[in-house]
Symmetry: C2
Amino acid sequence: MAKQVLDSLDRHILKLISQDARIPFLEVARACNVSGAAIHQRVAKLTNLGIIKGSQFVIDPEKIGYETCAYMGLFLKEPEKFDQVVEELKKIPEVVECHYTTGGFDMFIKIYAVNNHHLLEIIHDKLQPLGLSRSETIISFNAAIDRQLSLKDIQQVSDEEDETTEE
Amino acid sequence: MAKQVLDSLDRHILKLISQDARIPFLEVARACNVSGAAIHQRVAKLTNLGIIKGSQFVIDPEKIGYETCAYMGLFLKEPEKFDQVVEELKKIPEVVECHYTTGGFDMFIKIYAVNNHHLLEIIHDKLQPLGLSRSETIISFNAAIDRQLSLKDIQQVSDEEDETTEE
DNA sequence: AGTGAAACTCCCGGATT
DNA sequence: AATCCGGGAGTTTCACT
């Protein structure tokens, strides 16, 4: 079980590419004082380890007509069917998050909808049929912050340049 | 104001690049039956319109040692200082979302922390000093879904051109 | 693991329709 | 707006360290 797989080069690379997926690897290489091939190898390694889950252009939901963002706590009639419900939720494109949480809810989800009316439609037509007994909805008027976990302060774990001895 | 800024080519492009930011634009071009330069122009347009907010490699927080994810509803002693508090929250790298919502909370945030102990530390050392009167915390044991809003699938970018007459 | 060079592919500007 | 084009730049593989 690898615990500390990231060395400072990994972190530097992640920092750069997590902010701009289109940055040329050669530019990353120059910033890190290594060769382009090294970056290529590291990114491949990080991807294989699952640390990098992929890359994406980030789209502003509001700008493409999704003006309502909501969080919902759901209560299931049959809580033991959690996994099945998750599978159904995956098929609903408007559902972007689903968590198993503390706090009493059976599940906690995040949804984007065109407007409040559309949100109601989703709840009524797509969520209710999954077997909800009750739900609580929190609507976001405004996302003042919405970003990825930043790697700024992540080097705390090990200052020493460590060999990553796994396997 | 522009209502329908996106034509089917835009949607097709967004669909592809929102799933893989590293895909060569030429490959997108081939998939859309247009030239590479056309993709280049469209992406520039979508970026200028703010529809594309940027690009990023997606990092799995858990894999880099952030094993606790939590949502918190915050109540401020001085709710009118919302904007100031937001500015302070932006400085805390572990805070990845902040919303102004219905539901009684003054604000609703999402946080990543290394573990529960680290979360408590953040709450006590960084959040409390912002002037919290009370808070409610929901901890996620498991993110069963975590993705971007996906665009509806596009029908063939065909001969039919729908005019996007704006400006 | 990282390097450097080679072969391949892509990016992106300008001119054109 | 989209197309073609071309020089400059980036990507990726591989033998070597």
